[in-house]
Symmetry: C2
Subunit: 653 residues, 2 copies
Amino acid sequence: MTGDAGTRVAPPAEHAMWLPDAATAHLSGRSVAVRGAGALLDTVRREAQRAGMTFVDAGAQLVVEASAATGPEAFEISRADGTTRVRAGGEAGALYGWFHIVRLGAAAFADDLPTTTHEPQHALRMLDHWDNLDVHPVMGQVERGYAGGSIFFEGGRVRGDLSRVERYARLLASIGVNRVGLNNVNVHRREARLLTDDIGEVVRLAEAYRPWGIRVHLSVSFAAPITLGGLDTADPFDADVQRWWADAVDRVYAAIPDFGGFVVKADSEGQPGPFAYGRDHADGANLLARALAPHRGLLHWRAFVYNHQQDWRDRRTDRARAAYDHFAPLDGRFDDNVILQVKYGPMDFQPREPVSPVIPAMRQTAVALELQVTQEYTGQQRHAVYLAPQWREILGFAPFGDDGPALADLVRGGIAAVSNVGDDPFWTGHPLAQANLYAYGRLAWDARLHPGAILDEWIALTFGHDQALRRGIRSILDDSWRTYEAYTAPLGVGFMVTPGSHYGPSVDGYEYSPWGTYHFADRDGVGVDRTVATGTGYAGQYPSPWRERYESLETVPDELLLFFHHVPYTHRLRSGATVIQHIYDTHADGAAAVDRMIAEWDLLDGRVPSDVFARVRGLLAEQQRSAREWRDQVCTYFWRKSGIPDAAGRVIP
Amino acid sequence: MTGDAGTRVAPPAEHAMWLPDAATAHLSGRSVAVRGAGALLDTVRREAQRAGMTFVDAGAQLVVEASAATGPEAFEISRADGTTRVRAGGEAGALYGWFHIVRLGAAAFADDLPTTTHEPQHALRMLDHWDNLDVHPVMGQVERGYAGGSIFFEGGRVRGDLSRVERYARLLASIGVNRVGLNNVNVHRREARLLTDDIGEVVRLAEAYRPWGIRVHLSVSFAAPITLGGLDTADPFDADVQRWWADAVDRVYAAIPDFGGFVVKADSEGQPGPFAYGRDHADGANLLARALAPHRGLLHWRAFVYNHQQDWRDRRTDRARAAYDHFAPLDGRFDDNVILQVKYGPMDFQPREPVSPVIPAMRQTAVALELQVTQEYTGQQRHAVYLAPQWREILGFAPFGDDGPALADLVRGGIAAVSNVGDDPFWTGHPLAQANLYAYGRLAWDARLHPGAILDEWIALTFGHDQALRRGIRSILDDSWRTYEAYTAPLGVGFMVTPGSHYGPSVDGYEYSPWGTYHFADRDGVGVDRTVATGTGYAGQYPSPWRERYESLETVPDELLLFFHHVPYTHRLRSGATVIQHIYDTHADGAAAVDRMIAEWDLLDGRVPSDVFARVRGLLAEQQRSAREWRDQVCTYFWRKSGIPDAAGRVIP
């Protein structure tokens, strides 16, 4: 149990992220009344105490109360007669309302505070952890983690001291996250046992999260009936397999009554799945969903399925098509408690991809959008890249045209994302990457929030109300995603990263590989023809108007040109520049923007804590080195290949 | 001590390499007399006993005797009056003469056996092991080892059971190897302690080798006075440092009186060295040599020194120049017991490089030629590549022109090579890679031996005298090095391998890296201009006539064209083909040759032991897959870049 987490002091080596004591300074000394019973209301009481508020029965300056006015997570903020009131629909809403008061700062007690109502856009707001119990010799302990080891696991076990997990849960609750996947979706031998022998350890993690309204989920292996149960099959149609899963789930719920459910990566990148038995993904997902259903558990089934043994010589096979080809025919066949978890794009978390066509295609399926807070392909928390602008574009994409619903409204299964935290003192390696975790929670709550406004919130909570600091960090982060895009792979073509590590440039790194991630650059042109007319037909997986927009060179957005078309280097973008000159220009501009980031940051020396300043300064130097390497390798590669010099004469041949 | 190694039976899981019992069947039942006293003569006696010979005092069919007729390792074979006689100059010569009798087979007792004298071309014939005590997470236990773990070390210690090392020592003695380096030249923390705390374990290895006339050497870290001795410097001019080394060496010799000496990789690829103290390589080498000199120990100092933080944008810096630039000015400054160990080429064990110009430049220095038996860049013992033809070309290269001495005559410091064995049941992973180890020993003994004749020896010893088998293996291996060259990087340009692993193609894998391994392919041409006139000047490091031959497009050998010149794809080779068509043709031919290897091997089913057949068959399938991948990636890369189609229409764009 969390016990007196509210009064525990974080060790000095650990940064407080966006909830330093200063973030609640405006509450100190004020009076408060928290009305109603329940564990989460007790959490609010502990938070109020920690903030230095005085509990009163009447005439409180702040009242937090749970009624049944709205949904259980919703709340209303109002002010009258010197009292600011949080009226929540349930105890979770009271907790979220409390943190809204924290975010508001002194404005929460201004007499002109408007009445506002708040309700999350999605009931499921999840963070997945790709943490392993053991340390992988190449991947480390956290797969695609760039912030040290796992905060959950150490030495092959759940940590003895879970106080940091409790502080993490508090931070997640403050941004509205209500589900956490505890372990890597690539389930190795040791981690598989969390489901059975080691469920007692998962219980301890669930207890750390519970006071913060967060339910835990486990990644499990589809082959568990064989590897853990000793059966000779994992066939979803086999009665023994069904019974094994039902029994396993019963045991989990006996230990963790509010257990969230399972996350499964099946028949993907070598993970076992239903194909071995001639079954499809619906058969596989429903097997586990039916074991979970009696307990109202959820089954997150990942749609990240493609042939990773592709032959690069075959230009007709297109990895981008794979998820749609696998899943669209199965729409309507999934049980109600199955959530199909779909990466935002058809490839793999690139800085720029079109939105996955699986999402608009699966109207009879609860789909969750999967984002990646950990910066696998976006600088690995060595580059300052604020991802909220990308996520907002994705969430706001209207697959059926401008008059249709936005993606955020289509995903009935909510939002999931891969976390970026580890046991690093700053949690996220790069201190500025904390902003991504913060923004993820806020956008999962409400996709209409503006990335700049979210950033302002994060800056004020984390560093206080220094306006020069705010302007400086905004100028560094506001466009940092587009800056990263500018100095890496051009025009949506993707990849060009070092194989394996996915850090740093390697223009041909994946060009002749089995992973299906090609750019097809030759001496005449570059890009992947995914049109219906002459290419792989991927563009046809979209509903109108996007299938036509992507199909035509006249209407395809510049930033996705090379994702959909193979064009000559002399092709003119709608911007007016040729493709080759665009490559030269954007890469020069992108690297120069990093130089400016450094100049901006140097102005903040003394305005942020010295450890934050030093860490960010060191990482910016690495970002500068890396951005120049990207610029020079990409530009030299295309100059050597095209023979067309840079009009501005900057490129090294 | 080896004890009764002679009568010990190898476990069935371990292949006997070229010394199965059948290899000495012609000796069984014959009479023998071994005359003289000494440990190595005792070894000969045990060998004779093991072979089933009868010891007699007079009238023996075979007499082995050590006199002082010639050098200590030399021997004469003669036959008269029904007796075959080995007259050796010392006990080592007697042991080598014994194994010569084994190689001769029944011919050793034919009355027309001619009298022949045998003396090794080099006194130092060394095998270096890049074995670590611990298992590196990426490199494994044996750096660049492709045959399993170390036969020396296990679980961070020297193995308890050294019987396999004894059998290895016997195999090495049979091919004339007389020095072994025990541990990786990249000396990690754990391995450094072999020099001090763990010298007792080295003693046990020395004991296993001693009965076979083999002395052991250790790789040591130049920083040992700091890391092991607790000093604050490793400066070669510091008296405490000199004393520390002298004391350390004294302790080693107290434990191992016939200890061979040290191997050092200094100021190379991150290893510490004298540069940190403003000293040069001669200062560094002499420091250790002076500690070793009182014990007549040797100091092997590796010349593999270059800038591995090179900027690919800078086309004037040339890694190929580095060893010469560093070492040629130091000629004459090394102590007598320093041996400068020089890789055969200026780069790094590529399938084709020119011979290193350091060797002819260092006439006042004892230089050792370093070869690589382990197939780092030549198929990693997954490809059947018989390297003796390459080594013989290198050894026969005449740096001062056809009338001058061959390289083999210039290297006063002998021959060294990196071993290819591990704890694999076949010792070398690929059973046919045993031929490389065998050939290395034979060529180190006498560089004038013909690779085909060596192969015949190896086949007969290993598999017996089946003529169909001999023809089959010869047809597979004779040209296998040129086949490998044909389907990999073209015309001496080198690399194009997957970074890190060095296995499989990645045409641009090292093109923008700091390692200095470039091909500079653009849409017009390919190759590195290393001429004096317009390039890096590397060609000028050679004496005449090679400096002129390499400098001129008229005289540069085709196979090294792209090492020395950057030429258009349409440049005509002296063969008449254009460079681009040569690339297409050789890659098609090379891959087709692997198809023929498989057909040849399949004919041998039933003629070799089934485990050998199966292992080789499986590896040939991988070689075929890999050769096709090389062919297609290289050809497609150059088609895309040059835009010039294959005249035979084979290449995929």
